[in-house]
Amino acid sequence: MRKKIKIGIPRAFLYYRYNILWKNFFEMLGCNIILSPETNKDIVEIGKKYSIDESCLASKIYMGHVYSLIDKCDYILIPRVADYGKKDKVCVKFNGIYDVVKNTFPLANILDYNLEFTKWYNEFFAFLKIGFKVNKNIFKILISYFKAKRKERQYNVSLMNSQKKILRNNNLKILIVAHPYNIYDKYIGENIINFFKHEEVDVLFADRLERKIAISYAKDLSNTLYWKYSKELIGAISYYKEAVDGIIFVTAFPCGPDSLVNELILRKIKNIPITNIIIDESTAEAGLETRLESFLDIIKSRCNNE
C-alpha cells in the first residue's frame, strides 16, 4: 500500500477560517493531516526569533507554528490571499505571507494556493490545483471539494444557530469583536473567553455571524471600508448592537487594519460600553483580568440602573 501523504497545517491565521474545509478536503483525498500544537510559550518565542520585531503578534505566532511543522510532514499548507473581489481586499500580511515563509525557511516544502478574484484565481481552481498535487483523480478532487464545502456550510450554520440560542436567553451578553485567529488562539484570546465563562456571562462572537449578512450590515457603519475580514466583524456589530450589553475589541499589537477600524467604531458607536484590548507578547494575565473585571462592573451597574 502506498504511504499516505502528510499535510501539515499551521494552527494560526486562516486555519480558524478554513479548518473544516481543509480538513475534510484532504482527508477525503486520502491524506493525513498534521496540525501544529496549540500555541504555547515556545511557539511564541520561536516565532519572535524568526520574524521582524514590528510584525503583528498573530504573524509571529504563525511563524512559530510553521517552524514546528518543518520535517514532520510532506507539505505545509500556506494559502496566499489577495482579495475576494474588487471591494473585498484583505490585509497585506496575507498577500505576502507565502513569500515571507519561503524566504525565512528555505527548506520547508510548501503547498500553496492563491486567492485573487480580480485576476480570476478563485477558490475552486485553487483547490483543483492543490488537489492535483496530492491525488491524480480529478473526479475525486471535485467530489471532495464539493463535499468539504457542504460540510463547511453546515458547520457555519451550526455556529450561527448556537449564537441565536444565546440571543434568546436573559443573561448578560457581550459581543467579542476580534479576528478569529486572535480570539480562538490559546495564547491571545483564551484567557478572555475563560474569564467570561467563569463569570457566567454569555459571549457572542462577531465572526460567527453569517458572512453575507454581516457584509450587508457593515455599510451602516462605514462606506469606504474595503477589507473583507474587517467588514465581516463590523457588520456583526451593527447586527447585534441592540441585543448585547457590551462590546469588546481584542486586537494583537500592532494590527494594521484594526488600528484604524477599531478607532472609528469607538468614535461612532455611542450608547453601548465598548473597550479595546490590545495584546502583545508581554501582556500580563493579572492586568488583563483587572481590565475585564472593571469593564464587567460597568456593564452590570448599567443594567441595574435601567
Binding site: 481586499k89 497585506v92 498577500n95 505576502g96 505571507i97 524566504n103 494590527c255 494594521g256 477600524v261
Partner: protein, 354 residues
C-alpha cells in the same frame, strides 16, 4: 460660503496639486504650513496609538490649515491602510468640533479621476471635460518634470563644487512653476533648467559611492519625515538613486509591476502588496548591478514593508549587499538617525576600498 480648499503635504508636490485645484475649481486654495515639529505633535496627539506616521502628518496638516480658515479638505490615496485614512480623519476632526466639508477621492482603494471631475464640476459650472483634461495633463507634465529634474539633483548634488548651487537652482525652478504657466511654457522651463543643471560645476570622482533608497512612499517622499536623509547622503558625497516618485506611482507602476515579478522570481512568487514588491525586486537588481548599499525606509508598523524585510535580508545575505533599515515614528531623534547613517557610510566605504 466661499470654499477654501486644503490638502495634505507630501514633499514638494504641493505645487502641482494646488495648481490643479486652483485651475479646475477656481476656488481659493490654502496650502497648509510647511511640516514642522509642531505639525507632527498635533497630529499624533489626536491619532490612534499604533497607526502609521503618514496618518499623523496628514492630520496635523489638516488641523493647521483648518485653523487658517480652510473649510474643504481633500484626501486621496490607496494601496494599503492609506485608503482608509480619510474616513477616520473626518471623524476625528468632527469630534474636535471643526466645521468643514470632507471630500474623499478614493473609490475601491484607488484614486478616481472621474470623481475628481464630478466634484470640480459641481463647484465650477464653467468647467468642461476638455479644460479638465488640459489642466490634468499640465499637472502631470509638471510632476514628470519635477521628478526628472529631481533625479538629476540626487545624482549630482553630493559632488557640487560650489556649496548650495543645486538647491539654489531648484528654488528658482519652484518659483517659476508657481507662476503663470501653460503646457508649452512648462516644456520650455524644463529644457531651461535641465541646461542650468548640466552647466552646474560638479566634481564627480570615477569611483564614487552609490546608494539606493527603497521603501514606503510617504516616508521617502516627505523629507521632514526622514530627516532630510537625501541631503545628508549628498553631504557625505554619495550618489542617491530612488525609484519611488509620484510619476512612478501614478503612471509607470501600472506597466512595470507585472514585469517586476518575473524578474524577481528567485525571491518572490506573489505580489507582496503596496510598494513592497518593488522594494524587493529593485534591491535584488541593484545588488546585481553592483550598488554599494541600500537604505530601506518605512514608517513604524507599515505592514507591506514588514513583509519585504525578511526577503531583503535574504537578498543582502546572498549578494553581500549592505542594507540599513530605518523605521520612522512620531518620536524619533535626529541624532540617532545621523549616527546610524554615519556607521553605514563607514561600512560601505570600507567595503569599497577593499
Amino acid at each position: 460660503m466661499n470654499k477654501k480648499i486644503t490638502f495634505p503635504h507630501m514633499g514638494d508636490y504641493y505645487i502641482p496639486i494646488s495648481y490643479l485645484i486652483k485651475k479646475i475649481t477656481k476656488c481659493e486654495v490654502i496650502i497648509p504650513p510647511f511640516i514642522t515639529r509642531k505639525t507632527i505633535e498635533i497630529g499624533s496627539k489626536y491619532s490612534p496609538d499604533f497607526v502609521c506616521v503618514p496618518f499623523k502628518y496628514n492630520l496635523g496638516n489638516f488641523i493647521e490649515s483648518l485653523n487658517m480658515g480652510a473649510n474643504v479638505i481633500l484626501q486621496a490615496g490607496g494601496g494599503c491602510r492609506y485608503g482608509y485614512y480619510a474616513e477616520l480623519q473626518e471623524e476625528i476632526l468632527r469630534n474636535l468640533g471643526y466645521d468643514f466639508e470632507f471630500v474623499n477621492f478614493i473609490k475601491d482603494n484607488h484614486v478616481s479621476i472621474i470623481n475628481i471631475y464630478k466634484y470640480a464640476k459641481k463647484i465650477n459650472k464653467k468647467l468642461n471635460i476638455f479644460k479638465y483634461f488640459y489642466y490634468l495633463i499640465n499637472t502631470i507634465t509638471m510632476i514628470i518634470i519635477m521628478d526628472s529634474l529631481g533625479k538629476n539633483i540626487r545624482e549630482n548634488m553630493g559632488f557640487e563644487v560650489e556649496k548650495g548651487s543645486f538647491k539654489k537652482i531648484q528654488n528658482e525652478f519652484f518659483e517659476e512653476i508657481k507662476g503663470k504657466i501653460g503646457f508649452i511654457k512648462l516644456i520650455k522651463i524644463y529644457f531651461k533648467y535641465k541646461k542650468k543643471y548640466n552647466n552646474c560645476k560638479i566634481n564627480k570622482p570615477k569611483n564614487h559611492l552609490k546608494v539606493a533608497i527603497v521603501g514606503e512612499l510617504y516616508s521617502i517622499m516627505e523629507p521632514f519625515c526622514s530627516y532630510n536623509i537625501e541631503t545628508k547622503l549628498a553631504n557625505m558625497g554619495i550618489e542617491v538613486k530612488r525609484f519611488t516618485t509620484l510619476t512612478y506611482l501614478l503612471i509607470v507602476k501600472k506597466f512595470k509591476l507585472p514585469h517586476l515579478l518575473k524578474k524577481g522570481k528567485k525571491y518572490l512568487k506573489y505580489h507582496l502588496g503596496a510598494d513592497a514588491t518593488e522594494s524587493v525586486v529593485l534591491s535584488y537588481q541593484l545588488a546585481q548591478e553592483g550598488y554599494d548599499g541600500i537604505i530601506h525606509i518605512k514608517s513604524f508598523g507599515c505592514t507591506p514593508e514588514i513583509n519585504a524585510m525578511p526577503i531583503l535580508a535574504k537578498v543582502s545575505e546572498d549578494y553581500g549587499m549592505p542594507i540599513i533599515y530605518f523605521s520612522f515614528d512620531a518620536q524619533d531623534n535626529e541624532v540617532g538617525v545621523d549616527t546610524r547613517l554615519e556607521a553605514f557610510y563607514d561600512m560601505i566605504l570600507d567595503k569599497k576600498n577593499k
